[in-house]
Symmetry: C2
Subunit: 180 residues, 2 copies
Amino acid sequence: MNKRAKVTKAQIIEAALCVAAEKGAGKVTLDEVAKVSGFSKGGLLYHFPSKEALITAMVQQLVDDTEAGRQQLLAQGDNALTAMIKAHARLTEQVQGNTAMAILAAAAEQPGLLNPVQQACQFLLQDINTESGDNPEAVLLMLACDALWFQDMLSISPFTAQQKEQLLQYMQRRAKELMP
Amino acid sequence: MNKRAKVTKAQIIEAALCVAAEKGAGKVTLDEVAKVSGFSKGGLLYHFPSKEALITAMVQQLVDDTEAGRQQLLAQGDNALTAMIKAHARLTEQVQGNTAMAILAAAAEQPGLLNPVQQACQFLLQDINTESGDNPEAVLLMLACDALWFQDMLSISPFTAQQKEQLLQYMQRRAKELMP
DNA sequence: TTTACTGTACCAACCAGACGGTTTATTATT
DNA sequence: AATAATAAACCGTCTGGTTGGTACAGTAAA
């Protein structure tokens, strides 16, 4: 796969995420994605052999991006919990906040497509449990982080932007206290 | 509205939740719900004038049920945080674990249908903030509770049933410590 | 008590449009 | 020329919604 194909694929995925965010996670149709991305339907199906393949790719990109960001922060010396919180905060801040919509699109299409996400969650939990010595407070922080993310994804967050900001800062402080 | 109509409506909603859970939140079609519920499509549309009305009713039921359970626990003397944790735990335990799928079905159909959920979240946060004196630890517990719920709904929970059980117990202990 | 009428609850058949996916043809890139 | 990429027309199926109608309970006049 050359570079051009990669760019095109990324554009298609981005358009699909956009459709999911604006019209609803279940409205990600090939026709609509084609219209928004500017490519033809045939073009989409050249790069992704089926709608399911497209959504699988969306989920994979989300998992990979998140994990990459986390690994980068780990390499910088952050602990597992802090890295997770920062990585999530970063995803939320991104203009491309739509990335998370991959989860809803997958849930709408076929629940099984979320398996990679579950695996990633398991890895993360393991990391945090290992590093915190199975401290339930650490798990609580991880969950709270997830919840902020889910709330944003569903647009049901009861927090203002600055409330969320403060919360995330508080969580990072707690994360530092918790980890040795 | 007659009693018979109420029962029928409830059956239709349950069938819709079932479809969402088994086939995917975006696969809640009138045809499928008709097949699963045993009524005809015309029958569905007699009780719910449109698919959107059906999903709205699903969401409303979820919000109402959750709030009712919470109010009951509050009346029994639990504090706002404990009541929320217990109420969520109860929803998860229910054989009707599908209730939460209303959220995903709404997200799939049209994001705006989740507005009642956001309002409920806001009320809840207000309650907890008031009662805890704006203690961020309380907010964290609330969020963790939400996350457990979201994870179950998406079938991406990294916890075993007993891990979740232990966590919920830990959370209830923390909730009691936090509230005066 | 029969009759006629009304409103509720439901259904089978149908429709126009949208759906995922295929095919075939055409254009860029190498 | 060979291959990668895109477009457009098309197919069978499914979609949400409409239609006209049936079954039946109540009810009120005869």
